[in-house]
Structures are given as structure tokens and as C-alpha cells.
């Protein structure tokens, strides 16, 4: 039992070792050092898998770090996160070892990367709020080092300054939140607090606390209007982007999921979270479709996906938020690390033969079919009925199914288009609801749900549906191949510029002021 409980901390130690090996090899990372880094990261991954197996057999357990009040939690959330972190650590460290070969400071890079990953793994197993905050801040400071790997690049510094300010505001919110929690509950132990709440010993007054944690989460997960920094941090090697977008940016969602018992005590804050998440999701994804540079597009995609995750948290769907967090991490890590293949991919798409315009009738038909597929599969898995919020979010399936269908129908080189279109759109729908059903099955008993009034939940759900449908229809119009109207040209420019939020911040933060004299460009060593 002790061995099982010790697995999480062993994972952290392994990852920390990978970092230390990196620092030991600062001058020259030898082949055996490379193997050692890969070795410990694989060890970490195997420990994580072992932890998952042990968890399914023995259930929740924890290890207290004697005398510190800190400890390692082994439960559904931490097991999931530890597996994610250890897996990404293996992928990203292996990638970075090759990718940075020949780079003078490769050892230092691996060092910071390993420590950051170790810090994240320590963060997700925290039993104690102070412990969580400590690793939260530590992660952020280490990330700071990685984002400034090419510290001589002015653009790196510009973005980093924005990021630094946002992160510190988040830190302050978090620390204040912890302080208030202690005053309110007399404890900093996360499980203890949750138990107090579940036992019903709380009579309100948690609004401020939840609000402060929500602010920390919003700052961390690049929610509107604090998202500006994340679209400007491509000034550092790709593995850092992968780590940031697939790992660290999730911390906001993780915080809300981890503290879900506390969060549900304030429906007001949840409502605000849902609204911010919804707005960010819609805004971010609308900007995303205008972006021609792949990493920038992926950054906007992250903003919107994080918005979706925060929206799920706000609606009290914590299990789904955890699913979204994991699925998005895997997808985004791959997307960033493989972004060099974009040229080939786009060329491949262009080579795929001519596309036909679809008749409006067929467009409407595919929309109706999309709704039908959604309704049937949703009912089949019994999901759409469970809650208005779940149903509202699943509206995205209608558009996915509809869009796959109409896109397949417009491909001139496919034979039996209708059947292939139906199979693919049915496929995505089944996958969606199937994964959801599985997630709910595992997660429902574990997480609390929306505790506010049903009216509020319905209103929020209807707002979600309305926003999604407007965005979806607007996009369908854009993709239909018709020449967009004139007024759209102006709207496009505003959208492509992210509504100038960064320009305004730059102006008032003095980002463009020249610091040195006439030095610019050159990220190279000579």
C-alpha cells in the first residue's frame, strides 16, 4: 500500500532526474546522457501506468510527506494527470533531445524542461493548497526560463513581459484565495475541505474564495481578455510550445477540477466562469480560422479550447472538462510537434483534386442529417437527456457531422459520396458520444455537479446553443464557397487582428519602446 502511494512522488523524482542530467551535461550532453534522459522519462511513464493500474485495483490513497503537511494524492484526477504528464514528458523530452542537437545550450534546455515537468507532476498530486500554489508558481517561473531560451530576441522579451504580469496577478489571486480558505475552513488540506463541504458544514460565504481561484484559473488558461501573451510566445523552440499548450496552460482547468467541491458552492462564480469560457471559446475559434501561420493558429485554437474547458467547468461538467483537458493535450502536443509538416500537408490538400460547390438544397439537407445523426447517436448513448448543459455542448456534434458530410459531398474525386459522408459523420458522432459515455460512467460518481438553480442552468445552456448556432451558421456561410459580402472584408480584418487587444496593451504597456540602441533581429549564434 505504501508502495502504491509512493508512486506519484517517484514519478516526480524521475522527471526531476531527467532535468538534473540535463544540467550535468550543460557543456556537452553525451550519448549516454541522452539515453539516461530517455530512460528516466520512460521510467516515469511506467510508474504512472503502474499508478493507474494500482488505482483501479485499490482505489484512492495518499502519502503524507511527514511533517510538512504536504503529500501525494492518488485519485482519479491525479492518476489521469500524472499519466498525461509522464506521457508528454517522454514524448517532448525525446523530441527535444534530437531537435536541439547542435544547440549550444541543449543541456540547460533539457534541464529546465525536466524540472518544469517534474514541477507539473508535483502540482497535480498536491494534497495541500499551499503545496499546490508553490508548484504552481514554481512551474510558471521555470516556464519563464524556457520561454526566454533565446533571451536576445526582442519579440521573446516583449511577449514574456505580458505573460509575466498576467502570471503574477494570477499568483496573487491564488495566494489570497488560499489565505481566505484557511480563514474560512481552518484547513489547507484539499480532501479535508472537500469533505467538510460534502458533509454540508458550509453555510455560504465562499463566493470570494471561489472567485479568487477562478481568477487564477482564467489567468493561467489564457482566457479573454488575458489571452494576449499566448499568441506571441512562438519565439522559443517548438517543444516549449508543445509543453505550454499541451501541459501548462491546462493548469487553470485542473485547478477548477481539483477544487470542484469548493467551486460548486458558488453558482454565481460558476456562471461568470461559464460566460467567460463561452465568450473565449467563440471568440478564439472565430479568430483562429483567419490565421495563416500555423503556430499562431494553434495558439488561437488553444485559447478557444481552453474556453470550452472552462465553460464545461462553469456548467459543472467536471468529468467532461477533464476529458477535454486530456484529449486536447494529446491533440495539441501532436499538432505543435508536427507543425513542420504543414507545407506538405497543405500541398497535399491542394492536390486532392477540384472541389464542387454544393447546392443550397443539399446544404440544408446535410444540416438536417447532421441533426438527425446527433439526435440518434445522442439518444443511443443516452447522453443528451442527462442535463441541458450536456445537450447544449453537444450541439458541436451537429456542426461537425454536418460539415463532414457537406465537405465529403463537395469532393469531386470520391465515389459513393453520400455513403462515405454518412459513415464519416456518423463515425465522429459515435466517437463523441461514446467517449462521453465512458467518461461519465467513470467520472460521474466522483465529481459534484451544478448546484445552482435550474433556471440559471437552462439560461446558460440556451446561451451556449445560441452562440454556437450563430457561429456555426456564419462559418457554414463562409465555407459554402460563395464570395463573402463586402462588409465582411472589414470584419475579417478586425478578426484577424484579434480585435486589436494586443495592440492596445502594447500601446499602454510601452511594449514597442526601444530599450537598447538599434539592436534587432538575429536569433543565431555566430
Amino acid at each position: 500500500m505504501f508502495l502504491v502511494a509512493a508512486l506519484p512522488i517517484l514519478i516526480t523524482i524521475c522527471l526531476a532526474c531527467s532535468g538534473l542530467i540535463g544540467f550535468l551535461g550543460v557543456k556537452d550532453l553525451t550519448r549516454s546522457a541522452e539515453r539516461a534522459v530517455k530512460g528516466v522519462s520512460i521510467a516515469a511513464l511506467m510508474l504512472a501506468v503502474a499508478a493507474a493500474v494500482a488505482f483501479t485495483i485499490t482505489g484512492e490513497t495518499r502519502l503524507d510527506w511527514t511533517g510538512t503537511g504536504f503529500g501525494s494524492q492518488l485519485d482519479l484526477v491525479s492518476v489521469t494527470m500524472l499519466n498525461l504528464v509522464a506521457f508528454l514528458a517522454w514524448v517532448i523530452l525525446t523530441y527535444a533531445l534530437s531537435y536541439l542537437r547542435g544547440e549550444a545550450r541543449r543541456g540547460e534546455f533539457i534541464g529546465h524542461m525536466g524540472l518544469t515537468l517534474a514541477s507539473v507532476s508535483a502540482l497535480v498530486q498536491s494534497t495541500n493548497l499551499v503545496q499546490l500554489a508553490l508548484f504552481w508558481i514554481f512551474t510558471s517561473l521555470l516556464l519563464h526560463k524556457l520561454l526566454l531560451f533565446y533571451a536576445e530576441r526582442p519579440a521573446a522579451k516583449r511577449a514574456q513581459r505580458k505573460k509575466f504580469v498576467i502570471a503574477r496577478i494570477g499568483d496573487i489571486a491564488m495566494i489570497t484565495g488560499i489565505f481566505l480558505t484557511y480563514r474560512h475552513f481552518g484547513s489547507l488540506d484539499i480532501t479535508e475541505i472537500a469533505q467538510t463541504i460534502r458533509a454540508g458544514h458550509v453555510e455560504g460565504g465562499t463566493g470570494w474564495i471561489v472567485g479568487l481561484f477562478a481568477i487564477a484559473a482564467i489567468m493561467k488558461s489564457a482566457q479573454f481578455p488575458t489571452h494576449g501573451w499566448i499568441i506571441e510566445v512562438m519565439e522559443t523552440p517548438t517543444p516549449v510550445s508543445a509543453l505550454l499548450h499541451a501541459g501548462i496552460v491546462n493548469a487553470g482547468g485542473f485547478l477548477l477540477i481539483r477544487l470542484s467541491d469548493l467551486v460548486v458552492t458558488s453558482p454565481t462564480v460558476m456562471t461568470v466562469l461559464a460566460l467567460i469560457g463561452l465568450f473565449t471559446a467563440v471568440f478564439g475559434s472565430a479568430v483562429m480560422i483567419t490565421q495563416p501561420a500555423v503556430k499562431t493558429r494553434l495558439a488561437w485554437s488553444t485559447i478557444s479550447q481552453m474556453g470550452f474547458m472552462i465553460l464545461q467547468c462553469g456548467l459543472g461538467l467536471f468529468a467532461l472538462a477533464l476529458l477535454h483537458l486530456v484529449a486536447h493535450s494529446l491533440y495539441k502536443a501532436y499538432a505543435f510537434l508536427s507543425s513542420g509538416g504543414t507545407i506538405e500537408k497543405i500541398h497535399g490538400l491542394r492536390k486532392a483534386g477540384p472541389r464542387e460547390n454544393i447546392r443550397p438544397g443539399l446544404l440544408i439537407g446535410s444540416f438536417v442529417l447532421g441533426i438527425a445523426i446527433w439526435a440518434v447517436t445522442g439518444a443511443l448513448f443516452g447522453e443528451t437527456m442527462t442535463s441541458p448543459a450536456v445537450m447544449a455542448l453537444s450541439v458541436v456534434v451537429i456542426f461537425a457531422a454536418n460539415q463532414l458530410l457537406s465537405a465529403v459531398l463537395s469532393e469531386s474525386t470520391i465515389s459513393q459520396r453520400m455513403i462515405i459522408g454518412l459513415v464519416t459523420s456518423l463515425g465522429i458522432s459515435v466517437c463523441y458520444f461514446g467517449v462521453h459515455a465512458l467518461t461519465s460512467h467513470i467520472g460521474i460518481p466522483y465529481f459534484p455537479t451544478w448546484s445552482g438553480s435550474m433556471v440559471t442552468l437552462w439560461v446558460l445552456s440556451l446561451m451556449v446553443i445560441a452562440s454556437f448556432v450563430s457561429l456555426g451558421l456564419f462559418q457554414s456561410y463562409l465555407l459554402s464557397g460563395h464570395q463573402p459580402a463586402d462588409w465582411l472584408a472589414g470584419f475579417y480584418v478586425h478578426l484577424a487582428n484579434g480585435f486589436y487587444l494586443n495592440a492596445v496593451i502594447d500601446r499602454y504597456a510601452g511594449t514597442w519602446r526601444i530599450t537598447g540602441n538599434g539592436t534587432k533581429l538575429s536569433g543565431e549564434k555566430s
Binding site: I289, P292, L330, S412, V435, R513
Partner: protein, 812 residues
């Protein structure tokens, strides 16, 4: 200034227009095109400067861009100190130099190099003056804003919503953008949108209007324009590419003028807003721009040192070729296998390895498109791929149609829904569903890529056999075959098996993949061209007609197309294309020798590739998605040898030389058409490659695409380094630098021809543009003597001189 304005007032408007139009035309020609990365080729960034010398171009770059186009002075000084740049070479280079301001002697030259500083002599651009005055980083702000617009305007499918105005001209599109974009005004350029709205719809008229305020004396226009375009070099090069391809199709494209107007617009806006603070400095800058730009003593000293370095390399080559030269093989013995490769320097290593296996194996070098100027369409694609050198317009249409698959439904479901899935993945809203439904499966993708177990193939061997779409009658087919064989100097002595090997790179996740493909095939792999030619030469009717033209291909000779994978040095044979059946023993023998040769070639290359100690390390590079140096490409290219293979076969040239087979005796009978072809096509292409490597090495900030670790693919056409701004053209730093040292040492190409100098002179006289490259030092030209040793050096103006004393330093 006032005086000047009054003067200009007397110039009639029409003349003014002509003056401006002239300056625009001249400036455009100075910008070299840059092909999009989907199928990019090496381009000489100095192609527009062929009529002047390196030091003069260096002066232009110093003064207008603040960029040095030589190695740093210390590099040369170090080499002089160690003797790698020999004294006698310095003396020859100094004597050769035509500049009146050249150093008096070597010690003065070394002195100048010692005092050379990196301090820029740049004439400040208006944005830089504005920066000085306001304290805001205007050059970068403009780069950023220009990048945002240009990326969306030139987008080829990277973003789902490509904006509302992609159909119009760039100028029109920019006007729409700038009339809406609030960024400049937020950052302090008040009235920007109105200013743009008031400009004429015609870009040249807009330039005129801008100049009336910005440069009222209209002096130094060429310098001003060139400086303006250099400030947006990457985008300008892309626009120049559009103009280049339009011209090949007898059309024209004015995008680059739109870009010039667009960038001048920014200067105009800065000038209008900040005029009081910057007027004086701008007047000074204009006065500087109006003066002709002459090379400085520093520029000249660098050019001489560079020239001396190259003279040393040439001596090294001459020694190598002269040493250990075996006596000529008996010519009458029929070889067992012949293999033709692209002239590409990477083939040299492999050819040497292949030849070392047996005396019965012969190899040839020829431009990898095998003389077939094709425009190829594969499958149902609506895109045409120009698989030929970019200097030429395609003359033949070809295609490869896939056959009907066994299970059409399944294959279409898996293979053809890529675009719909891509749309769902990248569209708003649907991407939320995609992530939750499909996201978990990315575990498998990540595992596969991390372990490097995805399939590595440079070419789909099962791809349908390409065929000519252009109707070719037997005579036309025979014409092509004859022309190609004569150009290869391959008209007799055919072996039983002749391999025609195109080449392609095999890399994963690399935006610059096409730069590693065959340049002669326009940045594509060479398989299609090789397969077409093999098919043509196996055609009985063609062979029958060839006999009448004096080329007798024995009946038992088989041409087999192949693809040389330059990353792993494996060779794929397309034996399934053959109509006649290849007997199994021959096939087994072929497979055996190419495997052996591959192993030898890899052993040689291993030493140069960082992180490669085992044979398998090289193979793994092809599938490693994190590999930034999968192969060295053409790094290290220095020489071009057009001669019988016997002249170079005994020398290990370390993948530094282009090798073109050429037999001037056979060519003489027809009046040297092949020599003319070599000098005007492969030599020019090779010079583009060598100067691309040169420029990306010496001026990585301007002519290199920067650090691969930061690359951000934009618009499906190129890369940003980091967040945005400049479109980065040229080679990444990882293509010329190993991390500890340069792998490419910049040298202009040395062309070595085995041909009578009268014949060479005749070709140069006929082609002034090619001659300019040699006369102005962009290429060196040496000729072999009758003994097969390098004997003569082209000294410009159709003059030749003896190469001084084949040094007896090496034992001959």
C-alpha cells in the same frame, strides 16, 4: 532642397512618370525570386546583380540593408594566418582585382581586414529615423503589420477563411486591409486609414503621390526603392517569384510593384505624422541615397580575400584530379551495369561507392530531370507540378492516373477524406467535437512518431506509372530520346542494364523538404522524369528510329528507372514499370550492388552528420520527426566538372562537386550544342545553388531562413522565424551549420570544362547573361588541357591564362 523642388518643377509630368517607372523596373530586377516551400529550388539572391562584382553588391547591402555579404573579417584573417589562404593566392587575387581603390599590397589588405568593424554603414531608412525620434520600434512594428496582411493575402490554404479580397491585386487587397486595420492608429500613426483611403487606386500613381512629399527632388530613387524592398525582402522575393513564373508563361505580374507602393505608404504615414522630428535626418538620408554607392576599401579587401580562398580551393581540386590518375580503361569492354545519376553533389559520394564495387560498373552524371521539361499532374490533382529547372518553361504535359483500387469504398473512405477531416479539425466549433471524439487517438500518433516507427518512404513505389499526356508521334519521341542521349554524351557502349536514377530526400516534418529534393526537377523528387525516360528508351519503335540517327542501343539493353533517396542512400528500382521481364538473377545482382553501395556511401557520410555513429542512425533520420539535420543537402558544393568520368573517378571529391558527363569530341561534330546547353542550363542552376548556400551562410539574417527551432509555417508558402513579420527565404541555419561549425564554407562555384577554349568562348559570346556571371566573378571557369589536367583559367573578357605551375607538392 527647395532649389531641387524648383528644378523638378520644370520637368514635365510625363518625364517624371518615366523616371519613376524606370527606377521601379530597375529595382525589381535586383530582387531575386523565392519559390514557395511546397516545391522550392535554390535561387541566387544576387541574380539581379550579375553585371556588377561582389564588392559592389556588398557596398549596396552595407549601405542599404546594413548587411554584410562576406564572412566576418576574422574568418579570412584566421585563414590567412594559418596559411589556408596562401600568400601566393592573395597575390594573384590582388593582382587580378580591377578596383582602383584596392590595397597596395598584402600587408595593407590584412591591415584593412584587421580594422574592419561590424559597425554598419547603413543609410538609415525612414522607419529607423522615426524610431530614433520617437523611441518606438517602427521597423519591427511595420514588419509585423506587413506580415499579418501579406500572410493572409498570399495564403494558399493555411487558414480556413482566406479573407474577402484575395481575388484582387495585392495593392487593392492592402488598401481594403489598411482602411480597416486599427493597429497603426492605436500605435500612434494618426490618420493612417484616411491617408490610405486618399491614395490612388493605381499603385504607380500612389508611388508618385507619395514621392512628391517624401522625395520631392526624385533623386536616388533606385537606392530608395531598393532599400524599401530589402526591408520586406521575403515578401518581395515571393512577389518576384510570381513575376518570374508569369514571365515564363509570357504573362506579367505587378505584385511586386504593389508591395513597393505598400511599403512606401508606411514611410509616407510616418513622415506625415512625425515630420518635424525627422525631416532633417531624412533629408540627410536622401542626400546619401542620391549619391552613387561605391565599394569601400573594406568591401574590396574582403572580395580579394574571398577570391584568394577560392583560388586555394581550385589548387586543391587540381591536385586531387592530377594525383593517382589511373591509365584509361580499355574502352571496348562492355560494362555490366551503367547507372546515370543527377549531377547533384550528393550523387558523387554514391557514384564513387557504386563504382568501387566492380570495374564493370559505370556511372554517368546528368541533370536530374533527364532532359524532359515536364508539367506533371498526379492522380486527380488539379495542381500541375513543374518538374524541370525553373529557368525553363515546361514543354511536355504528363500525368499518372491511379488505377481502380480493389475495394473502392474502403480506399476512398480512408484515403480521400483527408480534406474533409482537415476542415473539421481546423474549423471553429467543429474542432471542439473533433478534440473530444478523436483527440484520445493521438496517443497512438505520438507513440508512433516518438518511436520513429512511421513508414519511411521517399516515394510511393506503387504509384501509377507516369505517361505523356502531350501527343507525341514516333518522330517526336525519337527526337527527345536522341537529344537526351547526346546531351548525356551517351551514344554508344550501352550495358545490358542501365539504371536511370532520379533523386529525392526522405525527411519527416521538415518545412524545407523540397529544398532537399532535386533542383533540376523544380524541387520535386526525380522519380517521374526517370520513369518517363526509361520508358521512352525501352520503346522498340524509338530504338528502331535511333539506329537511323547513329545511336544503336543493343536489343538486350534494358533501362530501369530508379530513385536515389539522398537521406538514407537507398535506391528504389521501378522494375515493375518494365514491359519486358527482368530476369531474377539480374535483379538480385542489382539489388545487391545498390545495397552495398548504399552502405559504403552512408559510412562516408556518417562522419559529417552530427549524432550519427551507426549505419542505423542515418536510416533513422528519415523517420525522426525532430530531426533538423536529416542530411546535408548540397552543403559544401564548390565545383562543377563537365568532362568524361575518367577525369574525376579516381578522386574522392567528398560530395563537393557537380559531375556532368561530357565528351567534347562527339559534340564537336554537331557544333557544340551540348556545351552550349551545359553552360546555359546546368551551370546556371549550379551557380544558383552555390550562391544560395553562399548567401545563406554569410548573410543568414537577410538571405537565410533562420533557426529551424523557431520556424512557424505561414500561408503554406514559407516560414516565419518566431511570431511573424518577415517571410524568411533561403536556407535555415541548420542547413549550413552543424552547431559547432559551418558545414558550408562559402565559395563561388568553380566550373571545370573539358572543351576547347574557342568553343567555350563562342558559347559565352552568344550568351551575354552567362558570360556576365564569369566576367564578374560569380563563377570561376577552368579548362582541362589535353593531358586531362586542369590547365587554363578564364580571366574575363574571353581571355584565358595558364594556371600557374601544377604544384609538385603532392606526389603525382
Amino acid at each position: 532642397m527647395n532649389v531641387a523642388i524648383k528644378d523638378m518643377n520644370f520637368v514635365p509630368k510625363a518625364d517624371l512618370r518615366a523616371l519613376i517607372a524606370d527606377a521601379i523596373d530597375t529595382t525589381i530586377d535586383k530582387i531575386a525570386p523565392a519559390w514557395p516551400l511546397a516545391s522550392t529550388v535554390a535561387v541566387n539572391p544576387f541574380a539581379g546583380h550579375a553585371t556588377i562584382r561582389l564588392a559592389e553588391v556588398a557596398a549596396l547591402h552595407d549601405r542599404l540593408a546594413g548587411v554584410a555579404i562576406f564572412m566576418p573579417a576574422d574568418w579570412y584573417r584566421g585563414k590567412i594566418a594559418t596559411g589556408e589562404i596562401a600568400r601566393k593566392d592573395l597575390l594573384s587575387a590582388l593582382a587580378k582585382s580591377d578596383y582602383t581603390a584596392k590595397p597596395a599590397d598584402i600587408s595593407q589588405l590584412v591591415e584593412i581586414l584587421a580594422q574592419s568593424s561590424t559597425r554598419t554603414a547603413k543609410i538609415p531608412a525612414l522607419a529607423e529615423i522615426a524610431s530614433q525620434a520617437t523611441g518606438d520600434d517602427w521597423p519591427t512594428i511595420i514588419e509585423d503589420c506587413v506580415g499579418r496582411w501579406a500572410a493572409s493575402h498570399f495564403d494558399t490554404g493555411a487558414s480556413l477563411w482566406e479573407g474577402g479580397s484575395t481575388k484582387g491585386s495585392a495593392w487593392k487587397s492592402w488598401q481594403v486591409w489598411a482602411k480597416n486595420d486599427r493597429t497603426p492608429e492605436i500605435l500612434g500613426l494618426t490618420g493612417f486609414r484616411n491617408m490610405v483611403a486618399e491614395l490612388p487606386d493605381d499603385p504607380v500613381a500612389a508611388i508618385e503621390k507619395i514621392l512628391e512629399e517624401l522625395n520631392p527632388s526624385f533623386a536616388g530613387l533606385e537606392n530608395q526603392f531598393y532599400q524599401t524592398l530589402l526591408a520586406i525582402n521575403g515578401w518581395a522575393q515571393h512577389a518576384r517569384y510570381l513575376r518570374w513564373t508569369a514571365a515564363l508563361n509570357n504573362g506579367t505580374d505587378e505584385t511586386i510593384i504593389d508591395l513597393l507602393a505598400m511599403r512606401l505608404c508606411w514611410d509616407y504615414a510616418l513622415y506625415r505624422v512625425f515630420r518635424p522630428g525627422i525631416e532633417k535626418a531624412w533629408e540627410n538620408a536622401l542626400a546619401e541615397l542620391a549619391k552613387p554607392i561605391q565599394p569601400s576599401a573594406d568591401n574590396i579587401a574582403h572580395e580579394i580575400a574571398q577570391e584568394a580562398y577560392e583560388l586555394g580551393l581550385q589548387r586543391g581540386l587540381a591536385d586531387k584530379l592530377a594525383a593517382h590518375r589511373p591509365t584509361a580503361k580499355q574502352a571496348d569492354k562492355r560494362p555490366e551495369i551503367q547507372a546515370a545519376f543527377c549531377i547533384d553533389v550528393r550523387s558523387e559520394v554514391y557514384r564513387r561507392a557504386l563504382e568501387s564495387l566492380s570495374d564493370d560498373i559505370e556511372t554517368f552524371g546528368f541533370a536530374g530531370f533527364f532532359g524532359l521539361p515536364i508539367e506533371h499532374t498526379s492522380g486527380p490533382s488539379s495542381l500541375q507540378e513543374n518538374r524541370l529547372p525553373v529557368l525553363l518553361a515546361p514543354g511536355l504535359k504528363t500525368c499518372s492516373h491511379e488505377g481502380k483500387p480493389q475495394n473502392e469504398f474502403a480506399s476512398h473512405l480512408v484515403g480521400k477524406t483527408g480534406r474533409p477531416w482537415h476542415q473539421v479539425r481546423t474549423a471553429a466549433l467543429t474542432s471542439f467535437a473533433y478534440v473530444e471524439a478523436i483527440g484520445p487517438t493521438y496517443i497512438w500518433q505520438l507513440v508512433k512518431r516518438t518511436l520513429g516507427i512511421s513508414s519511411a518512404k521517399s516515394v510511393d513505389t506503387g504509384a501509377a506509372k507516369p505517361v505523356f499526356e502531350t501527343e507525341l508521334d514516333p518522330v517526336a519521341k525519337c527526337d527527345i530520346a536522341e537529344k537526351v542521349l547526346r546531351a548525356m554524351s551517351f551514344t554508344k557502349g550501352f550495358a545490358k542494364t542501365v539504371i536511370l536514377a532520379g533523386h529525392g530526400a526522405n525527411v519527416t516534418n521538415n518545412p524545407h523538404k523540397s529544398a532537399l529534393h532535386c533542383g533540376a526537377c523544380g524541387g520535386h523528387a526525380g522519380d517521374v522524369n526517370a520513369r518517363l525516360l526509361a520508358d521512352l528508351l525501352n520503346d522498340q519503335a524509338v530504338r528502331h528510329d535511333l539506329v537511323k540517327r547513329g545511336i544503336d542501343i543493343p536489343d538486350d539493353t534494358l533501362f530501369i528507372a530508379a530513385l536515389h533517396d539522398t537521406t538514407t542512400d537507398t535506391i528504389t528500382l521501378f522494375e515493375r514499370d518494365l514491359v519486358r521481364v527482368l530476369d531474377t538473377a539480374t535483379l538480385a545482382r542489382l539489388k545487391d550492388v545498390i545495397a552495398q553501395a548504399g552502405f559504403l556511401a552512408r559510412s562516408e557520410r556518417k562522419a559529417r552528420l552530427p549524432g550519427a555513429t551507426h549505419d542505423r542512425d542515418i536510416m533513422a533520420r528519415a523517420t525522426n520527426w525532430a530531426e533538423t539535420r536529416p542530411e546535408w543537402g548540397l552543403a559544401g558544393c564548390k565545383y562543377f566538372i563537365a568532362a568524361p568520368r575518367g577525369y574525376s573517378a579516381h578522386a574522392a571529391l567528398n560530395g563537393e562537386s557537380f559531375l556532368h558527363n561530357y565528351d567534347h569530341h562527339a559534340d564537336a561534330k554537331n557544333g557544340y550544342p551540348v556545351l552550349e546547353l551545359i553552360l546555359t542550363a546546368p551551370v546556371v542552376v549550379a551557380s544558383w545553388i552555390s550562391l544560395q548556400y553562399y548567401a545563406s551562410t554569410v548573410a543568414p539574417d537577410l538571405y537565410g531562413s533562420g533557426n529551424k527551432l523557431l520556424h512557424n509555417v505561414v500561408g503554406g508558402i514559407g516560414v516565419y522565424e518566431g511570431n511573424g513579420g518577415q517571410l524568411r527565404t533561403g536556407l535555415p541555419i541548420q542547413s549550413v551549420h552543424s552547431g559547432s561549425d559551418f558545414v558550408h564554407h562559402p565559395a563561388r562555384l568553380t566550373v571545370c570544362l573539358d572543351a576547347p577554349i574557342e568553343a567555350i568562348n563562342a558559347v559565352l559570346e552568344k550568351h551575354p547573361s552567362v558570360r556576365a556571371l564569369f566576367d564578374n566573378g560569380w563563377l570561376h571557369l577552368l579548362a582541362f588541357g589535353p593531358s586531362g589536367k586542369l590547365a587554363l583559367r578564364y580571366a574575363g573578357d574571353l581571355r584565358w591564362e595558364e594556371i600557374d605551375a601544377m604544384p609538385p607538392t603532392e606526389k603525382a
